[in-house]
Every structure is written in structure tokens, then in C-alpha cells.
């Protein structure tokens, strides 16, 4: 077992939970140690992340993206020793138990306790370091400084069991970020928003979950909040993908007033298939984020829904019903009748356009010449949308190849319905 302690000089309990949620991406065993520390059991994660140094590099980089600057880090085989090292600012890892006494001995006694009476009592014994106290006989020491401190030291040295409860990440995410400086420029909000996204993504990865919808609130001093919602086609938990969407969304935002704080909320977590690492590049942290869907998401966000669509055919004889729009990227469900029908035009007019027909011959940029037809389409009597038409392929004097039809019902008018473009 190897424990990593993150020690924060200023943290509240809620912020610790956020850090614990984020830390879940590195290990399954996370345990907040209120009021100011979070413990991670990293012994089981070393192999996956390729060793202690790579893992530590990742944690530090991610911490920085999280916007947590004041975290001190300690690594030791027992949780309490890791905590002691972090509190005294010693970030050199202790990896084996037999190094513990040597490494803990020089730590100042203030790392163990900040209680003034205990400190005074220890000072009175002439002790300044952990090593000094350990050299004293146990029973006398307990009498003078209390059993709590003694037990803390015993746990640090691994002489007393030190169970830690596993923290369970909730299946929703709420976090707030208070801006050090109020701003009205969206560009300056980005770092803070990225920190929030990093926190969310860490939380999601620890549960192997993804989100499809994220709400942001930009808090102003007097005006109502500015709300931002990001939607994704498939559940995601990759910061880069979410950041790209956010960037597009922010372009359209006009802030009414200065922003003082930011909220992020994601309430609905979706399970995701665990992604295997790349064969060559051991773990891909920013993997093939699906750029293919990314384009659709980007266009969606900028243009609005229902402006980006896919196409599908439908098993229908009526030309206007032989197709429909659908969500992009969906497979085409119905096989078309195309094998048996005459060729269809590439362009279909949304509505057939009436053609003038002097002397019974339809006109479009001049009189038309029929090249193929008629193809009779008579269908739809059962749903009220019945048609009865004779379709022709016709050529205009300008060389336009047209798909025209004549109503078989009175007044037997001619219509243009498409172009063989």
C-alpha cells in the first residue's frame, strides 16, 4: 500500500468533497481527511499509470488544471505518515516501511499537532522533532501529552491499524468557482470554466460515467444569472471535447454585467464503456475524442438544432414521402425501391411548382421535350394524402433536365418536381 496525501492549507469540507470526486480518476480508494486533506491509495494504481513518477506528474498537472495551487503532496506507506510529510512540505516519496523512521524523525513536531497545550507540553520535554518524541518511553509520554498524539505517531509508523473509509462519489456533480477578479470578458472566464470542467471530468472518470448535458451558471452581482447549457450527442468525459464545445458556446454569449462566480452542474450521469488504452501509447488520456461527432456538435451549437441533419429513404411510392430527415450518422433503415423504379432526380423541390402549359405543352425556360415517361404514381388513398400523377423526364431548351408530372385529376395541371442535376 502506498498513500498519497493532498494537504490544503485552506479548504472547507465542501471543497474537499470536490477534490475527492476529482481524485477518483486515479484510484478507487479515496478518503477525505477533514478538515484539510484528501488521501489517495495509489499502490494499486502504479502499474496502470506506469510507475510512481508518471502518476505523480499526472496528478500534479491535473491539480494545476483544477486551479488548486496550494496543495502540498506527501507519499508514504501509511496514510498518517503521508499526511505528516504533506503537512511539513516534504514531497520526497517514502516507498518502503523500513525508511519510515529515518524519514519521519527530522519532521518538526508542529506537523503532528497544532494544539497549543500539547505543543507547550512537548516543548517542555525538550523535543523539537518527531524523532525526539519517539526516543522517549511510551508510558511517560502518554501521561504527559495525551494518548491521541501518541496514537497518531503509532499509526504513522505503522504500529497501529489505520483504517480509512472509502469515499463514494455521488452520481451528480455540483461545484462552484469564485473568481479572484470580476470580469466581463468571456475570454477571461475560460481558465476558471476549464477548472470546473476538469473537476467534473475527474469525477466522471472515477465512475466510468459520462454526461450529455452540462449546465453552467455565471453569477452576477445584481442581475439574474447567465445560464449556459452544453449538450452532447453521446456521453462524454473528456475535458478537451467539452472545452471545445464551451468555446463555441461562449462566442455567442453577451455578458450583461461583471461575473463574480461560476457554477457547474451535471445531474444525469450515463454509464460509459471503459476505454482501453492505446496499444502503442499506453494510456491515451485525450483519446480519439470523436471528432466525427464533434463537427456535428459544433454546428449544432452554433446554428441551432434542426439545422444539421442526416438523410434517409423511406419505403414509399409517393416521391415526397420516400425520404425524411433524421439524426446525423444514423444508418439508413429502409431499403429503397430504387432498383425497380426509373431514376430519381438529385434535387427534389420541397413543393411541386405549377408550370404554364400553353397549347397543352409544359413550359420551363421554353417548351419542354419529353425524354422518358410516363411513370404513373398512384398511391396514398388510405391516408388522405393520395396522389395520381404521370411523371416525365423532360429537357428544357437551356439544357435543364427536369422531373415534371401531370395531375391525372382535373384540372390536369403540369408541375415541376425536381432536377436531374
Amino acid at each position: 500500500m502506498l498513500w498519497l496525501c493532498l494537504y490544503f492549507s485552506q479548504r472547507n469540507a465542501q471543497a474537499l468533497e470536490q477534490v475527492a470526486a476529482w481524485a477518483g480518476q486515479f484510484t478507487a480508494r479515496v478518503s477525505p481527511a477533514p478538515p484539510d486533506a484528501v488521501l489517495l491509495e495509489i499502490g494499486a494504481s502504479l502499474r496502470y499509470f506506469g510507475g510512481l513518477e508518471p502518476l505523480r506528474g499526472r496528478i500534479e498537472a491535473s491539480l494545476q488544471r483544477l486551479g488548486t495551487r496550494q496543495a502540498a503532496l506527501g507519499i508514504a506507506p501509511t496514510p498518517t505518515a503521508a499526511w505528516l510529510l504533506a503537512r511539513s512540505g516534504d514531497n520526497t516519496p517514502v516507498t518502503a516501511r523500513n525508511q519510515l523512521s529515518q524519514r519521519l524523525a527530522p519532521l518538526p513536531i508542529t506537523a503532528v499537532t497544532t494544539d497549543p497545550t500539547s505543543l507547550a507540553a512537548i516543548e517542555g520535554l525538550g523535543c523539537r522533532t518527531v524523532g525526539d518524541i519517539r526516543a522517549l518511553p511510551l508510558d511517560g509520554l502518554t501521561r504527559r501529552v495525551g494518548s491521541t498524539l501518541v496514537q497518531t505517531l503509532q499509526r504513522a509508523y505503522g504500529e497501529r491499524p489505520d483504517p480509512r473509509a472509502n469515499w463514494q462519489a455521488p452520481h451528480q456533480h455540483h461545484a462552484q468557482y469564485e473568481l479572484a477578479q470580476e470580469t466581463i470578458h468571456t475570454e477571461q472566464l475560460k481558465p476558471a470554466l476549464y477548472h470546473l470542467i476538469e473537476g467534473l471530468c475527474g469525477h466522471l472518470r472515477s465512475l466510468n460515467a459520462g454526461v450529455m448535458r452540462i449546465h453552467f451558471q455565471l453569477l452576477h452581482r445584481q442581475q439574474p444569472h447567465t445560464e449556459l447549457t452544453l449538450g452532447m450527442l453521446t456521453p462524454g468525459h473528456h475535458p478537451a471535447r467539452i472545452q471545445a464545445l464551451l468555446d463555441h458556446r461562449l462566442e455567442q454569449v453577451c455578458l450583461p454585467s461583471y461575473v463574480i462566480a461560476l457554477n457547474i452542474a451535471a445531474d444525469h450521469f450515463h454509464d460509459m464503456q471503459p476505454q482501453g488504452g492505446d496499444l502503442l501509447d499506453q494510456i491515451s488520456d485525450e483519446p480519439a475524442l470523436d471528432a466525427w461527432q464533434g463537427l456535428v456538435e459544433n454546428l449544432d451549437h452554433r446554428l441551432g438544432k434542426d439545422r444539421v441533419r442526416g438523410l434517409a429513404t423511406a419505403a414509399e411510392h409517393r416521391p415526397e414521402r420516400a425520404w425524411h430527415y433524421q439524426r446525423p450518422g444514423q444508418p439508413n433503415q429502409s431499403a429503397s425501391h430504387q432498383g425497380t423504379t426509373p431514376p430519381r432526380p438529385f434535387w427534389l423541390l420541397p413543393q411541386p411548382t405549377p408550370l404554364s402549359s400553353p397549347a397543352g405543352r409544359p413550359n420551363y425556360h421554353g417548351p419542354l421535350i419529353f425524354e422518358a415517361g410516363p411513370e404513373r404514381i398512384e398511391s396514398g388513398w388510405w391516408d388522405g394524402g393520395d396522389i395520381s400523377r404521370d411523371y416525365y423526364r423532360a429537357l428544357s431548351p437551356q439544357g435543364e433536365q427536369l422531373w415534371v408530372f401531370r395531375e391525372r385529376r382535373k384540372p390536369r395541371g403540369w408541375y415541376l418536381h425536381g432536377f436531374f442535376a
Binding site: 459544433n298 423541390l349 433536365q401
Partner: protein
């Protein structure tokens, strides 16, 4: 100095008018066969230039402006990237597209609300590299926006195709290939090459055989 010039000439964006074959041969896969042998024969590289803009200029609809792109599009739709149709003037009729072998699940139809959104969408689609081809029907295009699109096509390795009205023939354009479509005397489709990177011939007329093309043209095999 000499070295600086050589470095400059190494840039993929630079082409030399007297070096058409070297240009085409240096970049395998830089051209996409149109599927019409008579057209491929006159285009340097034997097809539409990939990672570049192509303009198709035609006065009327229904001359064959989509027909000449279909074999290439059908093949590209099976390559795992999108075929984007941006601001089409009519409904791209799915039964007809499917009959030409287009994989409809790879087709993206975008209807931007205005002209500037349309140009933004085209640039975005070209630049991300997730579209094999982007076909667009912009209302008008000035030289500056065309240049942006040309750069975006290079960046995203996409085939950009702009369909424009006949007034575009009078404007200059940074597009790598400009085709003008019109009906010939024999009532067939005439394709005139207005401009082509790496080819000096500017007034070739050829006949792809409109009717033959619609009935007999099959999608090409998959291999690129």
C-alpha cells in the same frame, strides 16, 4: 538564397505552373478520380484536387452539376468521413443519392440561417478534417472568404466544392479548379475548365455524355 527558395518550393501550398506532373505525382492521393474517364483525362492528377477548393459554375439547375460529382462522392462516403451538403437550394433527394451508391449515414445536410453562418459552416466543415467532401451553395463569395475556404480545405484535407452562378466566371478565384457547365450543341453536358492548377489549357470542352452517365455509371471500387 538558393536554399531559401528550395525551402519555399517545398511548401505544399506552392505550385509551379510549369511543373504540373511533378505536382501531381509528388502527392499520391492528392486527386480524387471523378469516375468519368474523359474528364479525368483532362484534369491534371486525374481528378478533383483533394485538400483544395473546386468551383462548379452553372447558370441553371439540372444541367448535371451533381451528376459529375456522384461517383467520387459515392466512393468517399465509404471512407469513414462525412459528406457535408451546406445550404443546398433544394432537397438532396435521398432515393436518388442512395441509388448512386452514396452511404446516406455519412451525409450531413446543413441549413444555416443566413449567408455568414453558411460560410462559417463551410469553413468549419472543411477545417476539422472529418469531412471527405464539403459541397456548398453560398449566395456570393468574395475573394477573401474564398481564400479562407481554400486554406481550410488544405488544413482539413477535404475536397471543397462550391456551386456558383454564372456571374462567378467574371471574378478571379483562388480555387484550384474551376469548371463551367453548360449544354452543348448536341444537347449534352459540356464541361469547360476555366482554371486548373498545373494545367495551362483553359478552354477544353468535353462531353461526359449526360444520359449515358445517368444510366450506366457505377460507383468505383473502394480502394483509394
Amino acid at each position: 538564397m538558393q536554399q531559401a527558395i528550395h525551402q519555399l518550393l517545398e511548401q505544399p501550398g506552392i505550385w509551379r505552373a510549369n511543373d504540373s506532373h511533378a505536382f501531381a505525382e509528388r502527392q499520391p492521393g492528392s486527386h480524387i478520380p471523378t469516375g468519368f474517364s474523359s474528364l479525368d483525362a483532362v484534369l491534371p492528377g486525374g481528378g478533383f484536387p483533394n485538400a483544395a477548393l473546386t468551383e462548379v459554375i452553372h447558370q441553371h439547375h439540372g444541367l448535371g452539376e451533381l451528376r459529375i460529382t456522384m461517383p467520387a462522392l459515392a466512393r468517399m462516403s465509404r471512407g469513414g468521413r462525412w459528406i457535408a451538403l451546406i445550404a443546398p437550394p433544394f432537397v438532396p433527394y435521398p432515393p436518388a443519392l442512395a441509388a448512386r451508391g452514396l452511404d446516406l449515414s455519412r451525409v450531413l445536410v446543413v441549413h444555416p440561417s443566413d449567408h455568414s453562418q453558411a460560410l462559417w459552416s463551410v469553413e468549419q466543415a472543411l477545417r476539422t478534417g472529418t469531412c471527405a467532401a464539403v459541397l456548398a451553395w453560398p449566395k456570393h463569395c468574395d475573394d477573401r472568404s474564398l481564400r479562407r475556404l481554400q486554406l481550410a480545405a488544405e488544413a482539413g484535407n477535404s475536397l471543397g466544392m462550391l456551386f456558383r452562378g454564372a456571374e462567378a466566371t467574371r471574378e478571379s478565384s483562388p480555387a484550384a479548379l474551376r469548371l463551367h457547365l453548360a449544354q452543348t450543341q448536341q444537347k449534352r453536358l459540356g464541361v469547360r475548365i476555366l482554371k486548373c492548377r498545373g494545367a495551362s489549357a483553359s478552354t477544353i470542352e468535353l462531353d461526359t455524355g449526360a444520359n449515358a452517365a445517368t444510366h450506366e455509371q457505377k460507383p468505383l471500387p473502394l480502394a483509394l
